[in-house]
Symmetry: D2
Amino acid sequence: MQRIYTIIVPMANVFGDKWSFTSFGESHGAAIGGVLDGVPAGLHISMDLIREELERRAGKGTKGARWAVPKYQGVSPRALREPDEVEWLSGVIESDQVTKDQGLSDQGPSDQVPSDQVTKDQGLTTLGTPIAFLIRNKDARPEDYEFLKHSYRTGHADQTYEQKYGIRDWRGGGRASARETAGRVVAGCIAKQALRLKGITIHAALIRVGAETDPAQFAETIAAYQRDGDSIGGIIECRIKGLQAGVGEPIFNKLQAELAFAVMSINACKGFEYGTGFEGVTQPGSAINHISGGIAGGIADGTDITFRCVFKPTPSTPKALAKGQRGPGGQYQSTKVGRHDACVAVRAVPVVEAMAALALIQLL
Amino acid sequence: MQRIYTIIVPMANVFGDKWSFTSFGESHGAAIGGVLDGVPAGLHISMDLIREELERRAGKGTKGARWAVPKYQGVSPRALREPDEVEWLSGVIESDQVTKDQGLSDQGPSDQVPSDQVTKDQGLTTLGTPIAFLIRNKDARPEDYEFLKHSYRTGHADQTYEQKYGIRDWRGGGRASARETAGRVVAGCIAKQALRLKGITIHAALIRVGAETDPAQFAETIAAYQRDGDSIGGIIECRIKGLQAGVGEPIFNKLQAELAFAVMSINACKGFEYGTGFEGVTQPGSAINHISGGIAGGIADGTDITFRCVFKPTPSTPKALAKGQRGPGGQYQSTKVGRHDACVAVRAVPVVEAMAALALIQLL
Amino acid sequence: MQRIYTIIVPMANVFGDKWSFTSFGESHGAAIGGVLDGVPAGLHISMDLIREELERRAGKGTKGARWAVPKYQGVSPRALREPDEVEWLSGVIESDQVTKDQGLSDQGPSDQVPSDQVTKDQGLTTLGTPIAFLIRNKDARPEDYEFLKHSYRTGHADQTYEQKYGIRDWRGGGRASARETAGRVVAGCIAKQALRLKGITIHAALIRVGAETDPAQFAETIAAYQRDGDSIGGIIECRIKGLQAGVGEPIFNKLQAELAFAVMSINACKGFEYGTGFEGVTQPGSAINHISGGIAGGIADGTDITFRCVFKPTPSTPKALAKGQRGPGGQYQSTKVGRHDACVAVRAVPVVEAMAALALIQLL
Amino acid sequence: MQRIYTIIVPMANVFGDKWSFTSFGESHGAAIGGVLDGVPAGLHISMDLIREELERRAGKGTKGARWAVPKYQGVSPRALREPDEVEWLSGVIESDQVTKDQGLSDQGPSDQVPSDQVTKDQGLTTLGTPIAFLIRNKDARPEDYEFLKHSYRTGHADQTYEQKYGIRDWRGGGRASARETAGRVVAGCIAKQALRLKGITIHAALIRVGAETDPAQFAETIAAYQRDGDSIGGIIECRIKGLQAGVGEPIFNKLQAELAFAVMSINACKGFEYGTGFEGVTQPGSAINHISGGIAGGIADGTDITFRCVFKPTPSTPKALAKGQRGPGGQYQSTKVGRHDACVAVRAVPVVEAMAALALIQLL
C-alpha cells in the first residue's frame, strides 16, 4: 500500500520573495543546487568571487579572512584539492558574448564598481530569467553512512527528519547536511555582487572560539579540541556597511527580524543579537541609549549594522560518543562518526554573509 | 559601464505556494527544468506517465487522445524520434530501493489506486524534499534564429521582452518559447498522479478548430491551413471529476479564479470560461439557473467542473509574412519563419491539464 | 464538545502582495471593510471619487457612465438615498493638515494630474501605514433572511459555504453577499487614483445585455426581464490606457493571467477574454495576427489593453422559483426571494474596474 | 505638486500566511486593530482571556504572573482603570447563538480542554471568515507630543520613520508606538486558545532585570531605576510545551528561525537565543551535546522548547536627556519626555507569548 505522508509545508525550501532562492538537493544524491529568481538582467557575475566563497565554505580561507583554517581541522585533503564546481543551467550568458546589439555595452565595469570586481575573470551576465545552477555530488560514499540506516546521531536531525517525513535519506544526512549551504553561498555571492554595486558590503568574521577572543589563538584552540576528540562553539560578528537609511519595515518585517530569520536558518546557529544584545541587559538606559546597532524602529538609520550569532559545537565527536550520550528525545547514539569539524563556526562565516546578503537584497 | 535593468518582479517564475513549482531555462540554453517543492514524501511517480505526457506535448498523441496529430503538422521527425528525457536531480529515489526499513512498505499500490497506475514501470518515490529536474536542450540550432538578432516577430514576445529586460536571448524565443511548457507538463504530471490517489481526474480535449466542431475533421482542417501557409485557433475543454465539495475560496481565491490564472498563463491562450460562459449571455436566468459548472460562490459543489479556453493561431506563418504585417507596437516583421505549427491548440492540451492540476493541488 | 473545522486556506481574503488588500465583513454583521497595506505615503485620496464609485456600485450611475440604471431595477429607494459611508480608521490624515513641516508641500495637485482630480473636495493623504476602513451595515434586517436558516438558494453559495465551513451565517448570504464588493470598490478607487498619477486610466462599460448590443436599449431590455420576474446576463468590456510597455511577467504571472484572476474573483463572472478572445477562433492567423489586445508574451506592449468578461443572470428570481428548480448538487430551493437585480452586470461595472486597478497596481 | 514617496514594501503589516494577521492603526489616530484571516470556523474565543492578556500588556499583571507590576512603574492610573476594549467587526458570532442547526453542538468544551478555559464567560465563535477587530484610541492627547513635531527622540524610530516615509505622524510615535502591540496580543490570544486545544501551551516570564535574577527583587530593582530617572533592560524566557515532533522545516523555515523572526519584530528586542544560546559558546561539545532546546535540524523533537530574548532599556529617560545625548545618526534629542516605563521588558511578556503563538499557529 502506498503511504503518502501528510505534513506538507509550502515553500519550505524557498528563501525570499523578490530575489527568491529555491534550494534543492540531498548531500548524497545526484546534485545540490538552486534557482535564483528575480535577479535583474545585465548583472555581471564574477566566477572568481563565487569560487572564492565556495572555498571559504570548504574551509580553505581567503586573502581577506582574518584567520586561516588550520590543516588539522578535519577538512579532507581531497575536498581542498577539488573544490565544488558550479554548473550553470539557465539565466546567464557568458559576459563576453554580450554586445551592444543585445542591449548591453561592452565597456566593462565602471569606476563606481569596487576595484576588486574589475578582475578580468571569466564572468557571466544575467538575462533577467531564473538562474538555475547545480553542483554535482562527487565522492559520494554512501557506504560511509551505512551505519546510519538504523540509528540516529545525537544532536543531528536524523530522528526529527524521520518523525516528520516518515522516510529518510540516511546517506550523509540527506537534506540536513551542511552541504546544502553550498547553494546558499552561490546565491548569496550573487546577491553580494549586486549589493556591492549599490555600495553595500557585508563582512563576517569569527570573534570568539570557546573562551578565546584573540583571533591569533583560534587555530590553536580549535586544534586542541580536535586532538581531544571534542568540539567547541564560536561567535561570528557580521558588519553591514553602506546600507542607506530607510531600509526595513517598522512592524513585523523589522530589519533585525529579517536578519535573524535568515541567520537562524543556518545549521547549528543557536542565537542572534544586534546592537547592545544580551550583554546590554546589565547597562542602564542612560549609558547605552545611543547605541542603535544601525537600526531604529526596525528601519536602517544609515550607520553600520553589526550583529552577532553563536554556533554550537559539532555534536558527533569521538569524546561525546565515548560517553554514550543520549539526546533528550531518547534517541540512541550511533557508535561511529562521519567527518568531524572541531568548530563548525569557521566554515559558517561565508554562510552568514550569504544569508545576510540574501535577506538584504529582498528589501532593496 | 555596467547597466542593471531595474524591473524586477518577485517570484515571476514560481507557480503556487503549497506545491510550489519554480520553472527555469531558456529554449536554446543548456537546459530547461524546474523544482517542485512541497510534494509530500512517499508518493510514487510513474515514469511512464511522465513520458506519455511529454509525448503528447511534443505532438505524438496518446492512446487516450481523441485525435492524433497528423504527420504534416510541422513536428520534425527527429523531435518525434527522440523525446525529451528528464534528468532527476533531487527529491526522489528509485521506488525499488524504498524498503520497510526506510519507513515505506514495499507492497505496491493499493486497490484504491486506479489500475492504470499499477503498471510495473520504473518509478521514483518522493522524499518530501524539493524535486529538481532538468531536460537538456538537444539539437539547439541557434543559427536557425540568427535572423532574429536584429528583428522582432509579429505576434511573438520578441519586442516586449527587449522592452522589459533590455537584453534578450534571441535564440529561439529564449524563455518565451513554448519549450518552457515541457517543465510544466512534468510538474503537472506529478500533481495529476497525486490527485488521482484522491480520486480526482483531469481530462482535456480539443473541441473546436476554427469553425470545425467535429473531432473527426480536425486533422484535415489543420492540414488545410498548413498547406495554405496559414494557421488557425482552437478551443480546449477540460473536465475535472471527483473533486470534493468545499475546495476553493469564497472571496478572491475563488476556484474559477485560480483555474483562470493557471490556464491564462499558457502562451497563446486568449480566454477562459466555465459553466454557462460567454454564450450563456443570451439565456435568461430561469433557463440556466441550474448550471453551476461545478462551482458555486467560488467553491466546488461536488459535481464535475468543466471549463473551456481558447488558443489563438500561430502568429508567424508564411502567409502572414507574405502580407508584410506589422504588429500594433510598430515592430517590423522578420522575413523568415522558424518551425511552424498550424494549430498550437493541439499541443496545448496536456499543458492545460498540467496547469489545472497544479492549480488544484495547491488547494487540497 | 468543541468542533473546529479543518479546512483552512491561508490568506483567502487578501488580494495582492504589494498593495495587499485584506477584505473583511459579513453582509449582516457589524460592518464590512478592509485594510490596504503597501500604499506609499503622500498620496492624496479624493473622497468625492470614492463616493462616486460607491454610488455606481449601488446602482446610481455617474456622469461618465454610458448608461444609467433605471429606477425599476430593484434597487431600493433607501439604498439610493443613503449611500454607504466609509469610516477611515488608520493610515490617512486630512489633506489640509499636511504641511511642509511634515514633509509634504501644500501646493496642491500639479498640472500632470488629470483635471477631474483637482476638485477641491475634502480629501485624505496617506501616511504609508496600513489604511483601514469600514462601512457599517445599516438597515440589516436578518429577519428578511430567516427563511434561509434551513434552506439553500439555487445558484447561490449557501450550500457550498456550509459544506466548507460547517457553520454558516445565513443572514443575507453572509460573506458571499455582493455587499463585500463595496470594500473592493473603495480599495480599487484608491488604486485608480494612484494609477491616474502615472497616466493610466481604466474604464469599463456594459457592452451587451442578453442579445442586445445597443446601449440605448439596455434599460428597456433589463426592465422587460424584471417585469417578467426573470433575469439576464451581460458582458462588460474594460479598457486600460496609458500602461507602459514592459509591465507583466512572461511565464506564470502573465498580465492577462493576473487580470483574469482578479476579474474572475467577482461573483457571477463566468468568463474572461482579451484580444481576439473566443470569437477569434474562426479567423486564420493571417487575418488576426496583428491583434495583440495590448499584451504580447504576457507583457504589456504599450498599446491599449482591452478585455471582456461575462456575468450570468441573477439566480434567484420569481420565475426560477416558480419552476421549482434544483441545483446540480441536489440542494433544495427556497420558496422566497431576497432583493432581486434583473441584471447584476450593471452594478459589476465599477467592481471590474476596481479589480483591474488592484491587479495592475501590484505590478507597478 | 503632489509627491508620492516611493519606498513600498509589500505586506509589511501582515504576519504569517496561514493565520495571517494584518495589523493597522496609529497610536493617536482613530483606532488600532487588525484582521486575522485563516482561523477555522467553530473556534470558541474566550473574551475573559483576551481581556486578561490586554491587562497584562497594560501592566496590571495577572494571577499567573510570577511578578506584579509596581504602582510606581509609570503606568497611569487611568490606563489601569479603563482597559482597552475590543470592538469585533466581523468573523465571529456570540457563542450562545450557535446552535446544532448551524453545525455546532452546544455541549460546551470537552474534557480535553484545559479547565481554565471552561469558564462560563461571554465568548465568541469564529465563522471561518476574517476576524476584524479594533480598539479605539481613548485619551489621545496629541498636545503632549507637540514637541515632537520638530524633533526626534534618541533611541526611538522618529528619525528613521521620516527618512523612510517622508511624512510622519508625530503624535505619540504613530505606528511605532508600543500601542500597536495591543493588536498582536488580541490575535496572539486567539492563536493561544487554538493551540491549547491541541495541547500546546506557551508561557513567558521575566527571568532577569539588569543584573538581578531573583524575581522577588525585580519590582524593587525597577523602582530604583525609576527613582533615578533611568531605565534598565530585561531578559524574557519563553517555554513551549506540548508541541508534537515534526513541526518546523529543515532548511530556511527552521522552527528557531520562525520564532526568532516573530520575537525580533517586537520593539526594543535586541536578541534571541534558544537551547545552549550564547553562553554555550564556552562549553565543549561533549558537555552540551545533549541539549537540543526542543529543536533538531529546524524541526521540533517533541521536548519542551525554551527560548530567551533580551529587551533594551527605555531610551527616553530624564537622566538620558539631562546628559544631552545624541544618537548615532546625529539626530538631536528632544528635551521633553513622554510617558516612561523604567523596564519595558515587563509589559513585553505577553507580547512575546503572542508572537510565539502566531508563529507556531502558522506551522500547524
